[in-house]
């Protein structure tokens, strides 16, 4: 399944999610996070997108995985946060 969402992070920026997922397993197959937010270092967004592949599409799993990647890669988001990403991704299922 392919799906897209657009989500304005409260007090932050606009994120657009393009998601390819397995409807059967509710698992991410591919993910693209675009928008007018800031992330340091910038290239870490591609790491985050790759590492989210195979993650189950539920709040707990997504949150944990995103927080892990942020910590491991010392990512600093501005105008975006884990909650915003989780919300944007899960909006694709609606």
């Amino acid at each position: 399944m392919n799906s897209k969402s657009v989500y304005k992070v409260p007090n932050g920026k606009l994120i657009k999610i393009s998601l390819k997922y397995s409807d059967k397993n509710k698992q991410i197959l591919d993910l693209r996070i675009t928008g007018d937010f800031f992330a340091y270092p910038e290239e870490a967004i591609e790491i985050l997108e790759k590492k989210l592949v195979n993650t189950l599409l539920n709040e707990k799993n997504l949150q944990q995985k995103i927080d892990d990647v942020i910590r491991e890669n010392k990512i600093e988001f501005i105008g975006l946060n884990t909650e915003g990403l989780v919300t944007g991704i899960l909006m694709c299922l609606k």
Binding site: V6, G12, K13, K16, R32, I33, T34, G35, D36, F37, F38, A39, Y40, P41, E42, I45, E76, I78, G79
Partner: protein, 254 residues
């Protein structure tokens, strides 16, 4: 004695060249080969720059760009799409451990935007910094800014809108729904202003650049000494232009 930084003016470069120069100065400064630098520049032809994380074809009407002779480029900084036509663009390159630069990224935005605000004040315009990355005057945006930190060096670039053609800008950007194009144009007209609109007269790049330069000198208590790009920077800029900013795979990567 105040510290001396380099002051550059480079006019009428392409979008790819402008972004390549910013990156070249960042690299050269990180290697200690050139002084800390404030550059003011213009774009020719007019161009749209998109933020690092944006989808090019999601944001920009590429066919319309071609039709109107407008360039486009992906920046190495985050943030939104900007139409660069009648504006003064600045960039500042400085090590992230410089005492004048707060370690905290948000605080450093505020500090550098302070220089832009002092520049605007010198032009007779009162303005306010609105986090994350805007400067507003009379409640409307007059400047957008974007920062990256690479090689332990800060690059922040941003705009001061001298005059704006909102209809033209929107003809070049993708709007989510054609039915609301007119409403979006009306909204943006309410939210964006320009030096011309505020002062009631047009001020050119050449007539505004000295005020902006003084704004940076005042904010950072430095003297900006006119200089030029070194051969090393010019070579680096050529390389970055070819390999990155003028390259299809870079601009279309997201």
């Amino acid at each position: 004695m105040s510290e001396k930084w380099r002051y550059l003016i480079t006019e009428n470069n392409s979008a790819a060249k402008n972004m390549a120069i910013d990156r070249a100065v960042l690299v050269a400064n990180s290697e200690g080969k050139v002084p800390h630098t404030v550059r003011f520049y213009t774009w020719s032809p007019p161009a749209i720059s998109i933020g690092y994380f944006q989808g090019l074809s999601e944001e920009v009407d590429l066919k319309k760009c071609k039709e109107l002779g407008v360039d486009y480029v992906r920046r190495i900084t985050g943030g939104g799409a900007v139409f660069h036509e009648d504006e003064l663009t600045y960039s500042i390159v400085i090590p992230e451990n410089h005492p004048q630069i707060p370690k905290n990224i948000m605080e450093s935005y505020g500090r550098i935007c302070g220089a832009v605000m002092k520049g605007l004040k010198n032009l007779g315009i009162d303005s306010t910094y609105v986090p994350i990355n805007d400067i507003i005057s009379g409640g409307r945006k007059i400047s957008g800014n974007a920062q990256t930190r690479k090689l332990k060096t800060v690059l922040q670039h941003g705009t001061v809108i001298l005059d704006v053609d909102v209809e033209k800008m929107f003809s070049l950007l993708i709007v989510p729904n054609e039915k609301i194009r007119d409403k979006m144009i009306a909204d943006v007209k309410q939210r964006v202003t320009s030096v011309k609109h505020i002062l009631g007269k047009y001020v050119s790049f050449n007539d505004s650049v000295n005020s902006m330069k003084q704004g940076f000198e005042e904010e950072f208590n430095v003297r900006l000494v006119p200089g030029s790009l070194t051969d090393y920077e010019l070579d680096l800029a050529d390389k970055f232009e070819k390999e990155c900013f003028a390259n299809h795979s870079w601009n279309h990567k997201r």
